[in-house]
């Protein structure tokens, strides 16, 4: 197949935000095939990269642009005693391999355990200014969609693609379809962007946006902070979307400005002028458009074993008759796993574990919300709570803002950064049969430990569950 140099489309049709960024990164197009897309920023962690580096070795290749890859250890790391050698020999070997790869390939941006810039990959990217508007960003992790909050095309890739990016700073991708989801109106007090996202995923189902790249728009989105936008874009993959994005605005620019790897001086001015053009044109046409009223959204929880099985905390689990026939076996299997019955209400249901953290809700604003709620209250004695900041910087800020004192006073312990109980690769596993209210992103069977039962929620619902010991209104 022959490559053809990309030519600008002749149409005068307005462009979507996605089109503008995609078109600016096309190196060539394969005839009847995918696009060779240039990647500005690649994030890399210890679990999905070793086979890619081995691939480079096998082919005798170097990393083409080492300064465009940021490496952090996060998935397979303990959240206690990070200063000591990692106990599990298999995990330690994976972390040692990661360090060896960074060294062998002369990677300058390597943040191992304990490094001041170490943390969950999708937290440290934005907080250090690596993530910027208009970029193409990839990582061997499906929640790379987080970075779309800055008006970037950001998506998760597999290990073969990690190898492609390391070797060529490019990837072959088919152009996805575009979807715009508009949230009109305002979120009610006590409703977070996590609730908004869980509401949306319940409406669309886990495969409802497969094949699409989603732009979020509308009054409710404009009003969200950068961190709240990251939570929403993070969860785009949970409805199958390739990624989610939000046009950059003053909120975005204010967040990026001054961060270590953000542009400075004259370069900042030049980039800022470009970033201001990054929005969908008024006459841009999306392949699909959806609208929701943000004011209708309540605090949300999930009741099943995929993120699409969500409802407001006041609602009941659907009755079997309300589920379409083809899906009934899976629905029943899911409720059996969770120990719930069709039609059951979950308000007042006792829970065993609470997890605050992950790339979805492990940022300072999440800890502020949680700490503010538990201030002056006490953790329920029957509840085990894991509070895991997304990075060392987040942890430091928790201490500096006095939140650690509030949390300690309320009976909570703060751990060290990492993905932790979100995917339970480390020791932070919820025991079989126990219920965990978790601010993470997936309630799949066994996700938080074999047999663990996960109820996804935002940081406020998690805080309310932590002090009451039951599912309740925050």
């Amino acid at each position: 197949m022959k490559p053809t140099q990309q030519t600008k489309p002749l149409s005068t049709q307005g462009k979507t935000l996605f089109d503008k960024i995609w078109d600016a990164h096309v190196v060539s197009s394969v005839e009847n095939g995918p696009t060779q897309l240039y990647i500005d920023r690649h994030f890399c962690h210890e679990v999905t990269s070793p086979q890619a580096f081995n691939g480079l070795r096998a082919r005798g290749l170097r990393v083409l642009r080492p300064d465009q890859t940021t490496m952090t250890a996060d998935h397979n790391t303990p959240t206690l005693h990070q200063d000591k050698p990692v106990k599990d020999p298999v995990s330690r070997h994976q972390l040692d391999t990661f360090a060896q790869n960074a060294s062998d390939f002369s990677m300058p941006l390597f943040y191992p355990l304990g490094h001041e810039k170490n943390g969950v990959v999708h937290i440290i990217g934005p907080e250090n200014g690596f993530t910027q508007p208009g970029m193409t960003i990839v990582c061997g992790d499906s929640h790379t969609s987080t970075h779309g909050a800055f008006g970037a095309i950001a998506f998760g890739i597999g290990t073969s693609e990690v190898e492609m990016v390391l070797a060529t700073q490019c990837i072959l991708q088919s152009r996805p379809k575009t979807m715009r989801i508009t949230f009109d109106g305002k979120l009610r007090p006590g409703v977070t962007s996590k609730d908004l996202a869980l509401y949306m995923i319940a409406e669309l189902t886990t495969g409802g946006a497969t094949g699409y790249f989603v732009e979020y728009a509308g009054e409710a989105i404009r009003k969200l902070s950068m961190e709240a936008r990251m939570t929403l874009c993070n969860l785009s993959i949970e409805m199958g979307a390739r990624g989610g994005m939000i046009a950059p605005d003053e909120t975005t620019f204010a967040y990026v400005k001054g961060r270590e790897f953000a542009p400075k001086g004259e370069e900042w001015e030049r980039k800022l002028a470009y970033w201001r053009t990054l929005k969908s044109d008024d006459d841009a046409v999306f392949d699909k458009e959806l609208r929701f009223d943000a004011a209708r959204i309540s605090p949300m929880i999930t009741y099943g074993t995929n993120p699409g099985m969500g409802m407001s905390i006041y609602e009941s689990i659907p009755a079997l008759e309300d589920v379409d026939e083809a899906g009934r076996i899976s629905f029943k299997k899911s409720l059996d796993y969770m120990g719930f019955r069709p039609g059951e209400k979950l308000l007042g249901k006792p829970i065993d574990y609470v997890f605050l953290g992950s790339c979805t809700n492990g940022r300072i604003e999440d800890f502020r919300l949680f700490a503010n709620y538990v201030k002056g209250k006490k953790k329920a004695s029957a509840v085990t709570a894991w509070l895991v900041p997304g990075s060392w910087k987040v942890r430091k800020q928790i201490e500096e803002e006095g939140l650690l004192d509030i949390l300690t006073e309320a009976g909570f312990e703060l751990r060290q950064p990492g993905c932790s109980a979100c995917l339970a690769m480390n020791d932070d596993k919820v025991p079989a049969g126990k219920y965990a209210v978790s601010t993470s992103n997936r309630n799949f069977e066994g996700r938080q430990g074999p047999g663990a039962r996960t109820i996804l929620a935002g940081p406020l619902v998690a805080a309310a569950a932590a002090v009451s010991g039951v599912i309740c209104e925050p």
Binding site: M1, P3, Q5, I21, A24, V27, S28, V30, E31, G33, Q36, Y38, V47, T48, Q51, N54, R59, L64, N76, D88, S91, H93, Q94, T97, G140, D141, S142, T144, G156, G158, S160, E161, E163, M164, A167, T168, Q169, C170, L172, P176, T206, G207, T210, G240, K271, Y274, G308, A326, G327, S330, K333, L423, A424, M425, R442, F444, E445, G446, R447, P450
Partner: protein, 198 residues
């Protein structure tokens, strides 16, 4: 990558929807640093009891479908995590083709990059094959990549499936994306020189 042209095989049925990659290969098995051995832990939590003994009622543990090279699954197969380990586990177990009415995007790419062919058929045809396989486990399917057809050999019924022409060519010739990209290196350098600073 191994070449793929045609395949005739019995079918292992997994009539569950939204099978996510955490079910295909749970996270605790992702600590390896090579691509081998994941097949032993394919569907580990559905396949084994806590003591490591096989769960008798799980389809991978029944001799009925042993040796099948085609995995038949409910819609939205491979959702969730981007872990390519899911594709390595399916290939490692011995499957060459996964048939469903709908695949998650990242999984589909990962499968194709490992010579595992994801075949999308209509929900009605999928239901028919599930029924046929459940009735007669010896039912075989034939996948013809060149013709882009999936045929139920029991009744001869066939359906066309779609695949990107470039990806089809890669599979037929056993070529990787990375080979292609490496051959385009001069274009990458040219792009870096010429591009507007995004």
């Amino acid at each position: 990558m191994e070449k793929f042209s045609t395949l005739t095989s019995t079918v292992l049925p997994l009539p569950i929807e939204n099978v996510d990659t955490d079910q295909i290969i749970p996270a605790r098995f992702l600590k390896a640093t090579d691509k081998k051995g994941f097949g032993n832990n394919l569907f580990a939590d559905w396949r084994y009891n806590n003591d490591g003994s096989p769960k008798k009622d799980f389809v991978l543990n029944t001799p009925l479908y042993a040796g099948s090279k085609i995995l038949l699954a409910g819609k939205n197969f491979g959702s969730g995590s981007s872990r390519e380990h899911a594709a390595w586990a399916i290939v490692g177990y011995g499957f060459k083709v996964v048939v469903s009415s709908f695949f998650a995007d990242i999984f589909k790419n990962n499968a194709l990059n490992n010579g595992l062919l994801p075949v999308v058929i209509s929900p009605a045809f999928l239901a028919e094959i599930f029924a046929a396989v459940s009735k007669n486990p010896q039912t075989t399917l034939t996948v013809n990549l060149q013709e882009q057809t999936l045929t139920n050999n029991l009744d001869g019924k066939s359906e066309l499936f779609e695949i990107n022409p470039y990806k089809k060519d890669c599979l037929l010739r056993g070529l990787d994306d990375i080979d292609y990209l490496l051959s385009r290196k001069e274009l990458i350098e040219q792009y870096e020189k010429e591009r507007f600073k995004y």
